[in-house]
């Protein structure tokens, strides 16, 4: 193996050199909409992609570009486009690959927002989705159609933390001439680098662990550069002349960078779901300590999972590091450093016990986010999904007893104490006394 800068070093340095004018060591926030052209020829050359550089911050910005390079480096890709949110990254990826008539094969166990996009919104634009149980590897193959243009899933499914067989699903997708895109939000590149398992595109909600402190909404789309668009022949956006850039053929011009160049040149230019430079700065602060924070998140999650699995008020714990999880063995291969710090457990006593539990917690914050430095909790049956009855919840794979935790960076024994007290409070007096 040749020597390259390693993950921890790249987390701190990739994409940035000290500011040449003033020597600023931190990444400066280039709070500007636009950039002065040297002359008219320079301007024309930038607009026609004859030269590289910044034109307008909807399309690129120096602060955002540092984050984009850093995430490319950490994922092992060729390039990245940072976006206003994770949802913007997902939509950008889809819109770069297909238009009306396109079809997606997706894991059924994905973030609710992504599910909404696939189920309710994309059909209005003529793009349909078939959902597949992520553990049913052959199901991905059966769901493929001639018009399929993307296979999609998450490294760790939501909410059951299902772990897809990434190499096998990638092989199925490639056999059909389409790429596999993975939402790597829950794992981060510290725990899993999907490109090393055959995945072609990765997206993130950078709001979560990458930012790590719950202060900014952000997304990222990363291109491995591995997929052969030309050989596939199914992606005219990448292999045929584009009138929007004087007949530019992205695969011909940029080779392995075709997808990410089109995503920026068209997607940010036309859809405009751009990341702000201030946001990029916030996310960069998080990325600089990703390699320190994630192991602690995992260690704390292990301690909490161990505690919960032995608590009498807990029916079950769903965490791939526990032997009881159906994907325990696969986790050892795809996520050898750990399975993150977001997981679910079932509380005895259902919806009412869940409500009492949530209201008794003090350190865990009750809110709709994950991947914060602080520990978070949500009980879908009494909050986000409270309008659904027991049958509807079951159909959605969410039992009345399900509580989801995002374990933060506090002292793990303090977290255990908080959970222990709240679990006691959630139960009828007899059990609590036990």
């Amino acid at each position: 193996m040749a020597e390259f800068a390693k993950f921890d070093t790249l987390s701190l340095h990739a994409g940035q050199h000290p500011d040449p004018q003033f020597g600023a060591r931190a990444v400066p926030i280039y709070q500007t909409t636009s950039y002065v052209f040297r002359d008219t020829d320079h301007a024309a050359a930038l607009f026609n992609l004859e030269r590289a550089g910044h034109i307008y911050s909807r399309i690129s910005n120096p602060t955002v570009a540092v984050l984009e390079e850093r995430l490319s480096a950490l994922e092992g890709g060729v390039g990245c486009v940072a976006t206003a949110s994770g949802q913007a990254a997902l939509f950008l990826g889809i819109a770069t690959l297909m238009g009306q008539g396109g079809h997606i094969v997706s894991s059924a166990s994905i973030y609710g927002g992504s599910h909404n996009l696939f189920t309710h919104t994309l059909p209005r634009f003529g793009i349909t989705t078939t959902f597949v149980n992520p553990r049913d590897t052959d199901g991905f193959k059966r769901a493929l159609r001639p018009e399929t243009r993307l296979v999609f899933g998450e490294t760790l499914g939501n909410p059951g933390l299902e772990i897809m067989d990434l190499p096998a699903v990638a092989k199925i997708a490639h056999g059909h001439g389409v790429p596999l895109m993975i939402d790597n939000t829950f794992a981060t590149p510290y725990l899993c680098r999907p490109f090393e398992h055959g995945v072609d595109l990765v997206m993130h909600s950078a709001t979560k662990f990458l930012g790590g402190h719950g202060v900014a909404i952000a997304g990222a789309l990363v291109d491995s550069g591995q997929f052969d668009w030309e050989a596939s022949g199914k992606f005219p956006t990448l292999t045929e002349p584009y009138a929007g850039y004087h007949g530019l053929d992205f695969a011909e011009e940029f080779g392995p960078g075709a997808f990410i160049m089109r995503a920026r040149a068209e997607g940010l230019r036309d859809f405009g779901a751009t990341m702000a430079p201030q946001t990029a700065f916030y996310i960069l602060q998080g990325v600089e300590t990703l390699h320190l924070r994630v192991p602690r998140h995992v260690a704390n999650a292990r301690r909490v999972a161990e505690f919960l699995s032995q608590n009498p008020a807990v029916e079950w714990v769903s965490y791939p590091e526990l032997p009881s999880h159906p994907d325990h063995e696969r986790a050892k291969t795809l996520l050898p450093k750990g399975c993150g710090s977001i997981f679910s457990f079932g509380i005895k006593g259902g919806r009412e016990a869940g409500r009492r539990f949530i209201e008794s917690l003090q350190l865990f914050s009750h809110l709709a986010n994950v991947g914060d430095a602080k520990s978070l909790v949500i009980h879908p049956a009494s909050t986000t999904h409270q309008q659904m009855d027991a049958a509807a919840l079951k159909a959605a794979g969410i039992g009345e007893e399900l509580v989801r935790l995002s374990v933060g960076l506090e002292d793990p024994e303090d977290l255990v104490e908080d959970l222990s007290r709240a679990l006691r409070a959630s139960q009828p007096r007899r059990m609590a006394a036990e």
Binding site: N48, E69, G79, G225, G257
Partner: protein, 261 residues
């Protein structure tokens, strides 16, 4: 565009404009294991500023049919056949690394077909370590890693790409991976065996520019000194650039080429 050279399909990018043999032609020749895409941020400018561009995939590379040619001299003869196929009487040749040796040798063999030379990331001799040559010939991934690690300058290893959001190390590695197995080894062996630079330099009379990276660890600038003996040759040293200077410093590389072309 597609051309036929010696009965084989050859692909050449034209910078986004249709090739017009009536315009001054500029032919771009890539280095070992690469293809035409290494010139993306130079070719478009020339194509949109009154030149006809042919950024070729050498035989066995990119979209051109194989086999790869295993001698610099054979590649030089192939370039002449390419000019014939494109109906170009005389072209400026822009070569990188192995492509620079091919450009030099072409100008020496057929001076009437070459009107200017731009030699990028070049050296009069390019000995290749067995540590690289053996895995390259075997098609081992290690060769791609070594070329990426040595090819990019130390600055570019950390990034700071001129093309926003692109990771240069990833792009270089992936480009090499996309090549046909073992081709990079054939290229490197051709470079290693080429000893004709001194003789070629003595024959070349056309305007020449050497474009070198000051942090080039594969072809250090001092190794290009014999090439500067071409009468009137200019040397432009690009600061903080390694061997892959078209990727590392695309704007400055373009500006350097514009001084000649």
């Amino acid at each position: 565009m597609e051309l036929s050279v010696h009965g084989k399909k050859v692909y050449a990018a034209t910078g986004g404009k249709a090739f017009d043999p009536a315009l001054p032609a500029v032919v771009f020749l890539h280095g070992a294991g690469c293809d035409h895409t290494v010139w993306a941020l130079q070719t478009r400018w020339f194509a949109w500023h009154g030149r006809s561009v042919l950024a070729v995939d050498l035989p066995g590379h990119g979209r051109s049919e194989g086999p790869a040619l295993d001698e610099i001299g054979a590649l030089a003869d192939w370039v002449v056949a390419l000019l014939d196929a494109a109906r170009v009487q005389s072209a400026a040749l822009v070569g990188h690394s192995m492509g620079a040796l091919v450009s030099l040798e072409t100008a020496a063999r057929r001076p009437n077909r070459v009107r200017a030379l731009a030699l990028c990331g070049c050296a009069a001799e390019m000995p290749v370590s067995e540590k690289l040559l053996n895995p390259a010939l075997a098609g081992e991934h290690l060769a791609y890693e070594l070329i990426t690690a040595w090819g990019l300058g130390r600055r570019a290893q950390i990034g700071g790409a001129e093309a926003p959001g692109t990771w240069m190390a990833g792009g270089t590695l992936r480009l090499l991976e996309h090549g046909k197995k073992g081709v990079v080894g054939i290229d490197l062996r051709a470079c290693d065996r080429y000893k004709g630079a001194a003789a070629a330099v003595a024959k070349v009379k056309v305007p020449t520019v050497l474009v070198l990276g000051d942090n080039d660890r594969m072809s250090p600038p001092k190794a290009a000194a014999p090439l500067a003996a071409i009468p009137g040759a200019k040397t432009i040293l690009i600061e903080k650039a390694g061997h892959m200077l078209m990727t590392e410093q695309p704007g400055r590389t373009l500006d350097a080429l514009r001084t000649l072309l």
